[in-house]
């Protein structure tokens, strides 16, 4: 088994913006600093890809991988939620959950919309842990789907539900101020979760004498189990602070399959928004357009600047790219420090975005610049 740092599956949009690259960037840097295998997980199924052909979906992944390569961020492996080995294992995972009575078939009231994006247990609609809540809006007392704007219809049918109950799973959060949120979410996750879908499209399993179409998020939630099968022991997971809930669900479900899934450390990245400020990027800022314009190194500095660990949400000025270019105009004499990183705490301290500005100033002022292992990664001297 290879000890690994991973991320939850990333859904790839048409335009890859810097905020999206922050999670893989952290996976890449911390994997290098702690000598862990790196796995970048990708979500290629579900409603976000509705209407797209399989070639187009594969193209999204190819484009994303190319962007990561251009940034110098090469992972030991990519995990795709539509990989045949994973899809074929779903039946086995569900059998395990059913035999331990974690999965059961029940006749329950569900609320659903016309487009299929919302399908939720009626009893769960007001609970704050329901992952679909962000897709629902209340208009004059009527619940509507935010995507298709149809009013949710109530319907009693036979569905597949998962007993949650994730309290006490061993997740250690970094920065530590997220621990309370992780613990309380795990404690609250103790109600039935709807995991079957009415729609025909999706992965299918045979349980309780009939066929079921599974929810996409449920399918990738076996991530930790699937990676274990592939030979990776997930020791660290990187998530954005908007993804704590999916982590609790995914880690909890993977552990319920009965496999020996080890305790995990979760690195929670801030949610960063990039503000303009560059003379020639008055238009949409995407990673490819930034690399085309400035090259990979200034873009890595921009991503590094976003990792101000003490903040939950922050706005980063893209002019850091300009200052990076100014600093790199001078051919400094680089030496290496003997600094070794042995813990997540040290890795986060070394990669703190607040130190980027002083690093740039140091490069501009000094002839000789001593580089930490992290700074070497930023400068592309280790890729």
């Amino acid at each position: 088994m290879k000890p690994a740092i991973i991320c939850l599956p990333i859904t790839i949009p048409a335009d890859v913006k810097p905020g999206l690259a922050l999670t893989p960037f952290t996976v890449w840097t911390v994997s290098k600093l702690l000598a862990l295998s790196s796995v970048c997980s990708i979500n290629l199924t579900g409603m976000k890809y509705a209407g797209m052909g399989s070639n187009e979906v594969t193209g999204r992944f190819t484009t994303f991988k190319k962007i990561m390569d251009r940034l110098g961020m090469r992972f030991d492996s990519y995990w795709l939620d539509n990989e045949q080995s994973h899809v074929k294992s779903l039946q086995g995972y569900c059998d395990e959950l059913a035999s331990s009575h974690c999965l059961r078939s029940e006749h329950l009231e569900i609320l659903s919309c016309d487009c299929g994006a919302v399908e939720i247990l009626k009893d769960a609609v007001s609970s704050k842990w329901a992952t679909e809540r962000k897709l629902i809006k209340d208009v004059d007392g009527q619940l509507q789907c935010r995507l298709c704007h149809s009013i949710l219809k109530s319907d009693a049918s036979q569905v597949l539900v998962l007993n949650s109950g994730f309290n006490g799973n061993p997740i250690t959060a970094f920065p530590t101020f997220y621990q309370k949120e992780v613990d309380s979410l795990q404690a609250e996750y103790n109600q039935p979760v709807l995991v079957s879908r009415k729609r025909k499209l999706g992965n299918k399993v045979w349980l309780f004498g009939r066929e079921w179409t599974l929810d996409t998020d449920f399918c990738w939630s076996f991530l930790f189990r699937s990676l274990q099968k592939a030979g990776f022991d997930s020791e660290v997971v990187v998530i954005s602070n908007r993804s704590i809930k999916p982590l609790v669900l995914s880690y909890g479900i993977s552990r319920k399959t009965g496999a020996n899934i080890k305790p995990i450390s979760a690195i929670v990245t801030p949610f960063a928004t990039i503000k303009g400020g560059l003379a020639s990027t008055s238009h949409q800022i995407t990673i490819p357009s930034l690399v085309d314009r400035y090259g990979a190194t200034p873009v890595r500095f921009l991503l590094g600047d976003c990792l101000k660990w003490e903040q939950k949400d922050l706005v980063v000025d893209s002019s850091i790219i300009f200052w990076t270019m100014k600093a790199l105009e001078k051919a400094a004499d680089y030496t290496e420090t003997a600094a070794k990183v042995v813990s997540i705490r040290e890795a986060l301290s070394m990669s703190d975005g607040n130190s980027i500005a002083s690093f740039i100033t140091g490069m501009r002022r000094s002839e000789k610049v001593s580089l930490t292992p992290y700074q070497k990664l930023l400068l592309g001297k280790d890729t």
Binding site: D69, G72, A279, S280, S289, D292, R293, G295, M325
Partner: protein, 251 residues
């Protein structure tokens, strides 16, 4: 010549020069981005680690052997030690610092695109190099309109292509790097409001399949319109430069 043949040539180059000696082989230009338009040449960039006096002639022989004779191969042979880390100092032929951005969008046939590892160019060098390119095209276009007699189809196609390239350079000066002609024309019409109604109509017509003007008079009209687009784009460029970089123009 198509992408498949180019890939075949690239494989030949790798096997002849040795993978250890090749940093990357990049494919760019109209065959890649605008395959529906009759191409003038096939653009290849080969970056080698080591110099050998026979490199150019060996490459020429290889191009012949693969029988890529329908179109000239526009080859840029670059050695790794010629590529500055700072893109401000890079140029190829008459293309200055801005060309690094263009090459970063090339398709890599072998190796990782080495230009992603360079930094910049700075805003100043970007604008300066684009201005120089726009000036070059405008003067060439004026000269072409000035010449008497009938135009060859190649000259007409050149004028058409450069009218769009002018827009592409203009967009790049605002931070938008596009390669597909359709997208370049559409974005330019959206971003730059200085084009007159006639010029806008002419630019929209450029998106239609190429038909050679039938008479000398129509050829003249076509060339004059291309020149109008050049002049307008050059004017917009000067306006931007004088606003942003404190450069004054006489008159």
């Amino acid at each position: 010549m198509n992408k498949r043949k180019i890939a075949k040539l690239s494989a030949k180059i790798v096997s002849a020069f040795g993978a250890y000696n090749i940093v990357c082989i990049l494919f760019h230009g109209s065959i890649l981005f605008n395959p529906h338009i009759p191409p003038h040449d096939a653009d290849l960039v080969i970056v080698l680690k080591r110099r050998n006096t026979e490199d150019c002639s060996n490459l020429r022989k290889m191009v012949r052997q693969v029988r890529l004779t329908e179109l000239p191969v526009h080859l840029h042979l670059i050695y790794l030690d010629e590529i500055p880390e700072n893109a401000d100092f890079f140029s190829i032929h008459t293309c200055g610092a801005f060309f690094t951005c263009h090459l970063r969008q090339a398709e890599s046939l072998y190796g990782g695109n080495v230009f992603d590892k360079t930094v910049g160019p700075s805003e100043y060098q970007m604008q300066l190099s684009l201005l120089q390119k726009v000036q070059q095209y405008t003067f060439q276009m004026r000269n072409l309109v000035f010449i008497l007699g009938r135009r060859t189809e190649n000259e007409l196609l050149w004028a058409r292509k450069k009218s769009v390239v002018m827009l592409k350079d203009l967009l790049l000066s605002t931070g938008i790097l596009l390669q597909k002609e359709e997208a370049i024309i559409a974005k330019s019409l959206e971003v730059f409001h200085d084009f007159s109604g006639d010029e806008r109509e002419f630019l929209k017509d450029l998106r239609k399949p190429w038909i050679k003007p039938g008479t000398e008079k129509l050829e003249r009209v076509f060339m004059t319109r291309c020149l109008q687009v050049h002049e307008r784009a050059y004017g917009i460029m000067r306006k931007r430069i004088s606003e942003k970089h404190r450069c004054r123009f006489l008159g």
